[in-house]
């Protein structure tokens, strides 16, 4: 694991205009293998715009973009994929009425035969989709069932499994835990840790400071299209991070969420706890005491 090696992807002074809207204004950031970089910031801060630029959906108006030290210009998501940059979008890139295995391979279909008789290898697709999902601990009984029948967490897992299977070097996740219940969010966080363990670079966008602190190694904070800088876990205490992400007043709103977490923690307590679980639990306790101390004031 080369946490201190050269960045796999790096952007310098990226600016992005949508007409007269300045979505990004001189953003710089780097991600290394085996590292989870959390991208934090309020709604409209430009997080999705930044990762869509990284993923080749948008082209930056100004600034430079390097992949493994080489400057690149992506014209399409295909270009980014070919460079090993895989993205799981906030507005999930899944087609509800298509089967799991067809979704899994959409855009990169396995084929057999050649020439006029080149065809989509359905059996292979079904087998691989099932196997890859099983690796993530999800047993899909029938890979030909429509994706629309899966739960939110399972859909996120299909998207993550797909990215990992296609040899992603960098995995970009835009709010993968946003729509999820506590338990499923925990599952997704575990995949993130798993991806890091496989030496992928991960960019993880979330509004939830506890999710971020549980798996993040570094934190980049965006505000109105500008970066506040990148911090390592040592440099940024949970408290500071929470305060940067949300005004102190908004902390009360977290209270309800935290109670849910505590509950989930008890549910989890029975089984063997992984590293992530511990980190999650620890972060929760910290958040709890933070809240309590605030209430006392």
């Amino acid at each position: 694991m080369s946490k201190n090696g050269n960045p796999i992807i790096e952007v310098r002074n990226i600016t992005k205009y949508f007409g007269s809207v300045i979505a990004l204004n001189g953003v710089s950031m780097a991600v290394r293998s085996g590292e989870v970089m959390c991208l934090l910031g309020d709604n409209g801060a430009g997080k999705s715009t930044l990762i869509k630029t990284l993923a080749g959906v948008h082209q930056q108006s100004e600034g430079e973009y390097f992949v493994e030290g080489q400057e690149v210009h992506f014209d399409s998501p295909r270009d980014a994929l070919d460079h090993g940059i895989a993205t799981v979008y906030q507005d999930l890139a899944m087609i509800p009425l298509m089967s799991i295995s067809r979704n899994f391979f959409l855009g990169s279909e396995p084929t057999k035969g050649s020439g006029l008789f080149k065809r989509f290898d359905v059996k292979f697709a079904d087998r691989v989709a099932k196997a890859e999902m099983a690796k993530m601990g999800i047993d899909i009984r029938d890979p030909s069932q429509p994706v629309g029948t899966l739960s939110g967490g399972e859909r996120q897992s299909v998207a993550i499994a797909r990215a990992v299977y296609f040899g992603a070097k960098v995995l970009i996740l835009d709010e993968p835990t946003a729509a999820l219940g506590v338990k499923q969010a925990g599952t997704v966080l575990r995949y993130i840790a798993q991806a890091r363990a496989r030496n992928l670079g991960v960019i993880f966008i979330t509004h939830n400071p506890h999710h971020a602190y549980a798996v993040g190694d570094k934190f980049t904070i965006l505000k109105r299209g500008r970066t506040f800088g990148t911090f390592t876990k040592d440099e940024l205490s949970r408290e500071e991070m929470v305060r940067m992400m949300s005004g102190a007043d908004e902390l009360d709103a977290l209270s309800h969420e935290l109670q849910e977490f505590e509950h989930a923690d008890k549910l989890h307590g029975e089984g063997k706890m992984s590293e992530v679980d511990h980190a999650l639990a620890a972060s929760l306790e910290e958040g709890e005491s933070l809240l309590n101390s605030k209430k006392e004031q």
Binding site: L92, I95, P96, M98, E109, F120, D139, D142, Q145
Partner: protein, 349 residues
């Protein structure tokens, strides 16, 4: 979230259950049931005409003419777009071939090739406009429906002074064209129009493309969630443009079959066919919203159309009632489709 390990026994039960479920969740199930029902009804009320080989050949030919369009339209609709211009294109392609032969002495097969190139260009233009303007294809192709029809009638009248061009069998290349586009294939002494084989061939190819090729996956993706498909690298715009050209090709094929069969071109030919094609496709289980559907369904939808149209004749019912029936079928089909789709989505476990 299911994290149980599946036992051998569990897996085997799954296979049986899912086969049945897969069959039940196929989009064309409703159309297959409908086709059987319609056949049974006419077999009972008009057995002498309807059940005869000659009767069968006649309703299959009617089905084939619509089915050639419907198969192409089903692919386009699965990709989330409409093409209302195909009816006008039928008139356009036929008139082009006939004008070239009658006024300029171009052999029919060369004229047909020119008509094909022009038709494909119109299809390309439809696709290009839809993609560039981002307007609904319904609007763009509604525009082309009138533009093409108007141009066809206007130009034909300008050049020939009429709107119909007859006597095509006098021109060079007719016999050769007849073999490919208008011959009858005798089965048990009855001639079956070659258009029936064109129809089934197209249906077979379309089904294979949809279910067994990469492009098929892209077609579903382009219609189901174009943005999502784009993000994983599907060339959505190319897929859609290609399918507009496919519907244009189908219109040309039908035009050529008709022109050669009746030995004349009429600028009004193909009128309303765009709507009947959509009805056949919807009866076949394709969703109006795209992303879900079947080419076999379109074949069956066209079969129902032909059986009803000819069946009413055999039953001695006034042809006016045909419209009532098709309209009702459309509405029923949409209701059934919605039900089946909900089943498909619920076909979990």
């Amino acid at each position: 979230m299911a994290t149980t390990t599946v036992t051998q026994e569990g897996d085997e039960r799954l296979v049986e259950a899912s086969l049945l479920k897969r069959l039940l969740s196929r989009p064309e199930l409703g159309a297959a049931a409908g086709a059987i029902l319609v056949w049974l009804i006419f077999a009972i009320v008009a057995p002498t005409g309807f059940l005869s080989l000659r009767g069968t050949a006649s309703y299959l030919e009617v089905s084939a003419q619509l089915g050639i369009l419907a198969v192409a339209v089903s692919l386009l609709m699965i990709a989330g777009e409409f093409d209302l211009s195909i009816g006008s294109l039928v008139g356009f392609a036929g008139a082009t071939t006939a004008i070239l032969a009658s006024q300029y002495g171009v052999p029919l097969y060369l004229g047909a090739i020119v008509a094909l190139v022009l038709s494909l260009a119109v299809g390309f233009l439809n696709g290009y406009m839809v993609i560039k303007t981002k307007l609904p294809s319904f609007i763009i192709t509604l525009g082309s429906l009138f533009i093409i029809r108007g141009l066809t009638i206007g130009t034909t009248r300008l050049i020939t002074g009429r709107t119909q061009i007859g006597g095509l069998d006098d021109y060079a290349g007719y016999d050769f064209m007849r073999v490919i586009f208008a011959s009858d294939i005798p089965i048990a002494g009855v001639g079956f129009s070659i258009s029936i084989f064109w129809w089934l061939l197209l249906g077979g190819i379309a089904t294979w493309v949809l279910l067994r090729t990469q492009i098929g996956n892209w077609i579903f993706g382009s219609g189901g969630a174009p943005q999502a498909a784009r993000q994983v690298g599907v060339p959505v715009d190319k897929v859609k443009t290609g399918l507009f050209m496919t519907t244009a090709f189908a219109a040309w094929l039908l035009a050529t079959i008709q022109v050669i069969t009746v030995k004349s071109a009429d600028t009004l030919r193909g009128e309303q066919q765009e709507f009947f094609a959509i009805i056949a496709v919807v009866i076949g289980g394709t969703l109006l919203t795209g992303g879900y559907g079947s080419a076999i369904g379109a074949v069956l939808g066209a079969l129902i159309f032909g059986m009803v149209k000819q069946g009413l004749v055999f039953a001695g019912v006034d042809a006016d009632w045909f419209y009532v029936f098709m309209g009702a079928m459309l509405v029923i089909a949409v209701l059934v489709n919605n039900y089946i789709r909900r089943r498909a989505e619920a076909a979990r476990k």
